[in-house]
Amino acid sequence: MNADLAVIGAGPAGLCAAIEAARRGVKVLVIDENDRPGGQLFLQTHKFFGSRHHMAGVRGFHIGNDLLEEAKHEGIEILLNTTVWGVFPDNRVAFTREDDKQGSVIAKNILIATGALEKGIFFKGWTKPGVMGAGAAQKMMHVHRVLPGGKVLVVGSGNVGLIVSYQLAQAGAVVSGVIEALPEVSGYQVHAGKIRRMSIPIMTSHTIVEALGNGQVEGAVLARAGADFRIVEGTEFEVSCDLIILAVGLRPFDELLRALGVEMAYISGLGGFVPLHDENLETSKRGVYVAGDITGIEEANTAMDEGRLAGVAVAEKLGRLDLSKAEELKSDIRRRLANLRIGSYGRQRAEGKQEVLAALRERKGA
């Protein structure tokens, strides 16, 4: 098996890259370990922020459906239920299929678009049934149509925590409240405003101490969190709940990059260790590209545009696009990306991206 471009991860970044490349005649193979493509788009029932070019006002799952249609139209092959476990120096991508069959593909170029992993926090009782990540709750609700709990405590007031609270309430759960260790809400005011109008309380400067319950979650012990995020002793109190949702941040899902030995750097504004890459999203390994949350935690709209940028860059490299057309397409996409990385929420991501580019230049020069 061989391909011009192997895309690992069929989320918004991977699908957009595949579509842009395939549109120019690049032979693309997309691989995803899930049983359906689309990544987190199908967990996103809210409308996207941004501009018309970023599908603003359109709901995530509708965008997912559109991308799948486009991918189908381009005749892109997507291997599902397939886990990539290694990428070798001859650009061989090795994977295990659902039935335990091994396989591999040699690809001229590889795009790693594996997205992000949820972070956890650990407390007494955190392994009890009824403690889960926000993504799991969203998947249960939006994909499997199961309400994961009746009375919910949400830990974390970033956009994910605020949105999942809103979605849980829409699905019929009672949200006992959202707690946040920081002294202020981390997500957008408008997202917080939606749940406040539904009378869902938010407790800042508070953290979880323990999940209570016999065999499953029946409540939680909370306490004040000091400036160092430590529990302020003597401030503990209990709240009744049967579900505890952790929405305490994401980090790039970087295992394959590490296996490949791609140069990385820790950039806090991007959510942790991220791969260094150039303006075409090519890493320190020639022919290995990255796009989406693996390059730094952002949103689906930036992931889609990064995917497009990488897809165009690969098509250009393979001679499927002439230089001036490629430059035009790429500068359009870069402009759109820059537009999403402004304002008080976007600035640190823009700075993080600059650090990534500079660090790679520096290491190449050294």
């Binding site: 941004g50 018309r52 006002g57 957008y188 917080a192 109008r197 009744s240 304002g343």
Partner: protein
């Protein structure tokens, strides 16, 4: 064990004083005159679908896209088209002088089931507190609204700046 936490943060709530200073506020004078949108958007999020969708070109975001939406009180006629496009659900069309005693508030609504016309529901403020009865005058649901329905409620005039949500028992 209590079922609900006490709220300690009003970060999600814009105060009325604050709302009246942002460019999405059409002005007290304009509100007297007839239905008009109040855009309760106060953060520099890169976002502008309201500007695109307004058929009267009454909303301007411009460049950079992080500008707060500015309402032109002369151009907006309270047509409600913008309410459902806003990802932040922060646009409300207010008709203060709907009748001698009542104001009409158009509110985005994404819960199930929808209320029915004629129902009396709880009119709630920005923190979800019930402040008054609200009579449902209109429920607008269409494919075009993309699952953000619009509920218009009549409330006592005293609450035209306060009621921004509804709640009811099935």
């Amino acid at each position: 064990m209590p079922d609900k936490l006490p709220n300690t943060s009003d970060d999600g709530i814009l105060s009325l004083e604050r709302i009246k200073t942002i460019p999405g506020y059409p002005g007290d004078e304009r509100i007297e005159k007839g239905p008009v949108v109040v855009i309760e958007c106060d953060e520099d999020i890169p976002c502008n679908p309201c500007e695109d969708i307004c058929p009267k070109k009454a909303i301007t975001v411009g460049e950079p896209i992080t500008n707060l939406p500015r309402i032109d009180p002369a151009k907006c006629d309270g047509c409600i088209v913008c309410i459902s496009i806003c990802p932040g659900l922060c646009m409300f069309v207010v008709h203060k002088n709907y009748s001698k005693t009542e104001s009409l508030i158009h509110i985005p609504y994404e819960m199930h089931p929808l209320p029915k016309k004629g129902m009396v529901v709880n009119g709630c403020d920005r923190s979800g507190e019930r402040v008054c009865d609200a009579r449902v005058e209109k429920v607008i649901e269409s494919k075009k609204l993309n699952k953000t329905s619009i509920v218009a409620v009549a409330v006592p005039k005293a609450y035209f700046e306060t009621v921004r949500a509804i709640r009811f028992e099935e």
